[in-house]
Amino acid sequence: MSVNKCCCECTDVRDAKLQEIIDKYKDTKGALIQVLHEAQELYGYLPLEVQKKISEGLNVPLTEIYGVVTFYTQFSLKPKGKYRIQVCMGTACYVKGSGMILDKLKEKLGIDVGDCTEDRLFSLHACRCIGACGLAPALMVNDEVYGRLTEKDLDDIIEKYRKLDAESNQ
């Protein structure tokens, strides 16, 4: 997601897009969750200002919006990393040692689950079955799935995205 590299100008663009989303759903019954999904897609997370705009746009009290945002794990009040590492903690993966994978990643990245590295490059998350049980233990970086993981793979994966980032910054 391009969120991190955003300059002030494109903030306006995003705000305009948010208004479009709100207008699209204004007359749909019970559309709040769909609006939040699309807003999060846009901003990468749901800061209070965004929630306020949605509150005004949909005419739903801010408290209710905050209640919904904090109820569902998909919605985040904190920014996420450019590369979101989601370690599968589904049963099949757990039985095959994904707990160890998560621990090693915490150690390697020096962050806790739910947090973001200081350079905003990586954030670490535990998630549920990603449907790759045949390849357990598995993890996902953004939308890419990596399976049959060993500790060594973790270094390679982290390295791969560091390189990718360096290239995209050139």
Binding site: Q34, G131, A136, G147
Partner: protein
């Protein structure tokens, strides 16, 4: 329509996609062009074939040859040998050994009938395989009462977990009088180790749409909602495509088949809350609110979504409907056992050779699934238990491996059918740890509305953490049992009422393991870290020093010619030394 002499089916399910199947499909296009075969052979991306462990999987028709673990480099050979010269590429063929063969032999595909056979993004292919014929039959030849009667006589029970008779549910909703009713589909698939519903939606989305329209006609509803988890992007996308296509063909929307029947379907994305799989919470979530459950009664058939009569069925339940209409309820009722009709799809995972998706007639035994279909336990280990029903379910120990898989037999042994997660565990799995795993899950997912679930499960988890942490106290096991009983009796919804099940069922069959943790401070499986340590066998140690160099905390000391030793105080039990020792002189001691 263009006629092709051969079809290459490439699995586009999530498992195979992550093992590179999209690149393989691309390479086929390239290689086919190179050999001027692009007008003779068609590449189709399908849903899951089931054999995820052996992915990526492709099947070449008309022969039906299945190739597994295909690499991009292999594509050239398959095109040149098989498609050009008509010679099978034996080395990649599945079914070389008995295991792969058995994987399919004992299965019976009803709900998954089209998965891996058609292109899920093409409504024409679905129609070519009798798609939307059941809807046509229902709308033009049957009354709603006849539809309900057909479903009742088939004996179909809900595949989402509880196993409620589907026809009966529809009848209740039919009898509720209101100007507006709704049909909902539960595609939230909350069991944390399962992916049956996702595979159906990814492989055959139209079957669910068709069934929902049939349900709409039967109960008198014109609006449907599919509640699907946002973590399933491929499935969501295919559903969107399918809905658009169906509308374009006039199979959804106004005046379907010119009969005056209107039916429309909307997708609603979940946002990661297990409790939203529960029917009343799901409806609250569709309304755009915090997905908290509501007390029942009133039941959804009377007051559901937006307080209107509503039915909710699981994806797999729906996938069975069109076939029942077309082949008749007697046909369906002839499959399975006395009180569990038809088939059930399971996502088999954990310590088993053939992980993947299987569909079996009800009544198949666990042994057949583990050893015949699943190919047994890897590395010659012993089967210890199977877990079904996820965080609401329980385990079946090795001594009961001949239990037939049906609603009643599973309930009798203290487990449940569940939605289809089936996790196999071997001797290296600690059952207390597994119980803790599921409880951690429910504690995190408890919505907080009712105290027995919010506080009670947390207390249970604390006790389990104590036990697995080597600090278990006399009486802890009994405390767990009392808490479990009270939570089951007092919780508001199914989440809390079933949360203690994994603990109760492991206690029932593996009590001695709990006792070993509490009394002897030992974890027999060697999983609970606080209770095990690593030791170097002095006779086997060659004093090479590799272990000491690999120890991240410098806990290993030694010198040449003298066996090395681990300082247990410093050791963090990471296991790096054991992994690296070239002489296999380091052991885990429980």
């Amino acid at each position: 329509m263009q006629i092709f002499r051969a079809h290459v089916l490439v699995c586009g399910g999530t498992g195979c996609t992550s093992s590179n199947s999209p690149k393989i499909a691309e390479e086929f296009e390239v290689q086919l062009k190179k050999n001027n075969l692009e007008n003779e052979v068609k590449v189709v991306k399908t849903g899951c074939f089931g054999l995820c462990a052996e992915g990526p999987v492709i099947v070449v028709y008309p022969e039906g040859a299945m190739y597994t673990m295909v690499k991009v480099e292999d594509v050239k050979e398959i095109v040149e040998e098989h498609l050009l010269k008509g010679r099978l590429v034996k080395r990649l063929l599945a079914g070389n050994d008995e295991f792969d063969y058995n994987f399919f032999k004992k299965q019976m595909r009803v709900a998954l009938r089209n998965c891996g056979r058609i292109n899920p993004e093409s409504i024409e292919e679905y129609i070519a395989f009798d798609g939307y014929q059941a809807l046509a039959k229902v709308l033009t030849e049957m009354t709603p009462e006849q539809v309900i009667d057909t479903i009742k006589r088939s004996g179909l029970r809900g595949r989402g977990g509880a196993g409620f008779p589907t026809g009966l549910k529809w009848e209740f909703a039919r009898k509720s009088q209101d100007d507006q009713k709704y049909v909902c589909c539960n595609a939230d698939e909350g069991d944390p180790g399962a992916f049956m519903d996702r595979s159906i939606l990814e492989g055959d989305p139209h079957s669910v749409l068709e069934a929902m329209a049939i349900a709409g006609y039967a109960i008198g509803a014109n609006q449907g909602y599919i509640y699907i988890r946002a973590e399933y992007p491929i499935a969501v996308n295919r559903l969107r495509i399918a809905i658009d296509q169906a509308k374009e063909y006039g199979l959804l929307g106004k005046n379907i088949f010119g009969t005056g029947f209107d039916f429309d379907i909307e997708i609603r994305l979940g946002a990661g809350a297990f409790v939203c799989g529960e029917e009343t919470a799901l409806m609250t979530s569709i309304e755009g609110k915090r997905g908290e459950p509501r007390p029942r009664p009133p039941f959804p058939a009377v007051k559901g979504l937006w307080q209107k009569p509503t039915i909710l069925n699981n994806v797999e339940t729906y996938a069975n409907i069109p076939v029942i209409i077309l082949k008749g309820p007697e046909w369906f009722a002839s499959i399975g056992t006395e009180r569990s009709k038809g088939t059930k799809v399971f996502a088999v995972g954990g310590k088993i050779n053939n992980t993947g998706l299987v569909e079996i007639p009800m009544g198949t035994t666990l042994r057949e699934i583990v050893y015949d279909i699943g190919g047994g336990i890897p590395n010659g280990k012993k089967f210890k238990a199977a877990q079904t029903g996820g965080p609401s379910g329980g385990c079946i120990p090795a001594s009961l491996i001949d239990t037939p898989i049906d609603y009643d037999s599973l309930a009798q042994v203290g487990s449940m059918m569940g939605s289809g997660g089936l996790i196999i565990m071997d001797e290296d799995t600690c059952m207390v740890d597994i119980a803790k795993f599921f409880l951690e899950f429910t504690v995190e997912e408890s919505c907080g509305k009712c105290p027995p679930c919010r506080i009670g499960t947390k207390r249970m988890l604390e006790i389990l953490e104590r036990i697995t942490g080597g600090k278990g106290e006399e009486g802890d096991i009994e405390k767990l049992e009392i808490l479990a009983k009270n939570i089951k009796a007092a919780a508001l919804c199914g989440l809390g009422q079933t949360a203690p099940n994994p603990v109760l069922s492991t206690l029932r069959y593996f009590r001695d393991e709990y006792i070993a943790h509490v009394r002897d401070k030992k974890c027999p499986a060697g999983v609970c870290k606080s209770m095990m340590h690593y030791v170097i066998n002095a006779d086997l140690c060659k004093s090479c020093g590799i272990c000491a160099r690999n120890c991240p905390v410098g806990a290993i000391k030694g010198e040449r010619k003298v066996p090395y030793e681990i300082d247990q105080e410093k050791c963090i039990k990471c296991g790096a030394c054991m992994e690296k020792c070239p002489f296999k002189a380091i052991f885990k001691n429980a």
